[in-house]
Symmetry: C2
Subunit: 293 residues, 2 copies
Amino acid sequence: MSSTQTAQLMDGAGLARRIVAEAARHASEITRRTGVTPCLATVLVGEDPASATYVRMKRARCARAGIASRFVGLPAATTTAELVDTLGSLSQDPDVHGILLQHPVGAHIDERAAFEAIAPEKDVDGVTMNSFGAMSFGLPGFTSCTPGGIMRLLDEYRVELAGRHAVVVGRSPILGKPVGMLLLARDATVTYCHSRTADLGAVLREADVVVAAVGRPRLIRGEDIKPGAVVIDAGYNPGNVGDVDFDSACERARLITPVPGGVGPMTIAVLLAQTVDAARQQTGATTDVRAEC
Amino acid sequence: MSSTQTAQLMDGAGLARRIVAEAARHASEITRRTGVTPCLATVLVGEDPASATYVRMKRARCARAGIASRFVGLPAATTTAELVDTLGSLSQDPDVHGILLQHPVGAHIDERAAFEAIAPEKDVDGVTMNSFGAMSFGLPGFTSCTPGGIMRLLDEYRVELAGRHAVVVGRSPILGKPVGMLLLARDATVTYCHSRTADLGAVLREADVVVAAVGRPRLIRGEDIKPGAVVIDAGYNPGNVGDVDFDSACERARLITPVPGGVGPMTIAVLLAQTVDAARQQTGATTDVRAEC
């Protein structure tokens, strides 16, 4: 409780390595038993350098885990209808088990229509309304990758959620909203805050668990952290800066994710694990995967 | 602020009458212009007397508003597959514009599978994952009826939501969860409370808007209402008792829904309005309806 307390770091990088190693074992087992190698299709629209780098990184991670990947690069001028067609074809393709559409796709494209063209059983990035419904209602389905990674981190550190107050800062469709629903499914009392919240500090000071997912550098400072709270920083800002002011938050939190090495590595680990799960389901190598982690 | 303050009643019954009258005008216009009468299919599984009464009431309201209804009564022993087939056929039937599956359907049936067999464009009761996603992401689609009714009531009384703290007590798939998402889409800070919430009173006392949707008679008492708050009681309990202790809440709230005559009549009004909207879209009489009210 004193100001000299230093929070324990939540080692996302280490947990992600174990999850990826397990996914690799399962991928190899599927390949051995069925002759089919799990395959992730990555779809990139346009030539944004950052997006191209993200896709390359994901494909490299797949390769190292024994997961095949198929790259589909589309020109920046691709229409919504063309992108929907491409995603529909991949959804039908029996050689593809998971589909990732790299965000963003360009302002002229209806991204929601594109996402919805991904078959739910191949939505390993958890971007469809079906996946959101599954996360919200505790039904079988895939999680959005960052929310799924956050839940696995909380479980790894045995963070009690039932009856605790979790405050999610941010409300994006693939991060803030779904992570709140996953926390609610685990019996947390959940508050969604955002840019219009009148007194963010006052809400945060009541939080047993904080999930920062808003993309504003060092928005959340230690003085707004309840002593002993668990702080998950899912913010990504230039210069490897999170949404939480790390040093001051460390003086109050009990557990905290560093940036980098916290939530970031978990996202891609969940993507790989869910791709292998999708391949297992589609090859009949196993039966079920649940939205809850 | 004094204990002698008496809250203004939010007249759901009156607003519902106006919404139904407007739906009736639109239904008549659609019939006149296209020769097609908007039609709601009501599906009842088994012979539970309360459920049968609800369906009868909804059909009678349809009839008075110039909306046709088609009743499909299925035996209690109906299987999930049979129910899915029935709902799939109604989804394909061009004479049916909206579909209502009366809840509950019996424990041996997978109600979620049944709901998902309803085509999104006919889901005028707002029970599918697609509708939940639409409400959550601000996309075109139908609202769940009670949440949609609550939003219309809040708008009718010009309740400011942006930046205000809305506390939803309850997290059911067609009431608590979607109303929270609709409030969030309107820029409220939203907290979900439920049976596992550690200190409900403490959370409630911070609420500018309370939505009680938990089904526990008089759970919420005046002492837990912040002076000047808006209190929406969506509870339905035996003896026309809501989830809010009305008399004590009236001494603190600025606006409050009575039970009966508050939220209840709004639910069926939204069902009728959305059925007419569905018919408009399907007959080409108009183009769009949005999840936001």
